[in-house]
C-alpha cells in the first residue's frame, strides 16, 4: 500500500516537473543566419539564370533544339514517303482500280 502511494507521488512529481518551465532562447544571431540562407538561395538561382543567359549557352541550346526539330521532321518525312511507295507497289501488284464514280473523278449530271 505504502509502495503504491510512493509510486503515485513520484509520478505526480514527474508530471509536474515542467511547471514553472522557463522558455528556451533561440540563437541571438538567428536573423543574420536566416538572411544569409535566403541570400544564398537567391544567389544560386541567379547563378543558374546567369549561366543560361550566357550567349554561348543560349545559342548552343537554341541550336540543339533546332537540330532536334529538323531530325524529327526529316525522319517523319522519310517514313511517309516509304509508306506511299509501298502502297503504290501494292496497288500495282494487285491491279487496284478506283471502284466508284466519285473516285474516277467523273462528274455526275
Amino acid at each position: 500500500m505504502n509502495k503504491k502511494k510512493n509510486i503515485q507521488e513520484q509520478v505526480a512529481a514527474t508530471l509536474s516537473s515542467l511547471d514553472g518551465l522557463e522558455r528556451a532562447s533561440a540563437n541571438p544571431h538567428l536573423y543574420t543566419r536566416i538572411r544569409a540562407k535566403l541570400d544564398q538561395e537567391l544567389s544560386s538561382w541567379s547563378w543558374i539564370a546567369a549561366f543560361l543567359s550566357r550567349p554561348v549557352v543560349a545559342i548552343g541550346l537554341v541550336a540543339v533544339i533546332i537540330i532536334l526539330n529538323i531530325l524529327t521532321i526529316t525522319s517523319n518525312k522519310k517514313g511517309t514517303e516509304e509508306l506511299n511507295d509501298q502502297l503504290v507497289t501494292l496497288a500495282q501488284d494487285y491491279s487496284f482500280q478506283p471502284s466508284n464514280i466519285l473516285e474516277n473523278g467523273i462528274n455526275q449530271p
Binding site: R23, N27, K37
Partner: protein, 192 residues
Amino acid sequence: MTDPSFIERLRKGEETAFYQLVEDWKDRIYNTALGLVQQAQDAEDITQEVFIIAWKSIHRFRGESSIQTWLFKIAVHQSLDLIRKKQRKKRFGWITPIFGTAENGATDPGDFVHPGVQLEKKQEAQLLFKAIKKLPEQQQVAYSLQKMEGLTLKEIAAVLETTEGAVEALLHRAKSNLQKTLTNYYQTHKHE
C-alpha cells in the same frame, strides 16, 4: 502584430517587418520545436526553416488566423516531419551500414534536458520528456504546446485545426498515457 498593415509590410517584402517578425517570435518557435524534437541543433534548424517558409509564403497568408497560429502550424509541421524522418532512419538503420551512408546523431537524441527546467526537477523532467516522446503524434503536440508554451485550448485547437473538445480529449489521453508509462517505469526501477 496581426494588424493588417504589418502583414501588408511583410507582403511588400519590407526587411524591417521581417526582422520584427523574427525577433518577436523566434524564442517561442524555438521553444516549441525544442519541446517536440528534443534536440537543440534540430530545434534551431527548424526555427530557421519556419521563418524562411513564412517569408516565402507570406502572400498565401490570408489573415484568417493569427500570425501566432500560422507560425506555430509551420513549426509543428516541420518538427513532426523531422521526427518522422528520424524514425524512418532508425527503422531502416540496418540498411545504412550496407551502403555506408550512416550519419552521426541521426537516430536517438539520448537524454534530453530542457534548459529552462528548474535544477531540482531536472531528473524528473528528463524522464517526463522521454515519456512524452512515446506519445502518439497529436497527443505529443497538444501536450507540448500546453506545457512548453502555455497555449490555451482554443489556441491549440487553431494550430491543430480541430475543436477545443477534441484538444481536451487529446490532453486527457496524453496525461493518462504519461501516467501509465511513468507508473511502469517507477515499478520497474523501485530504488530510484
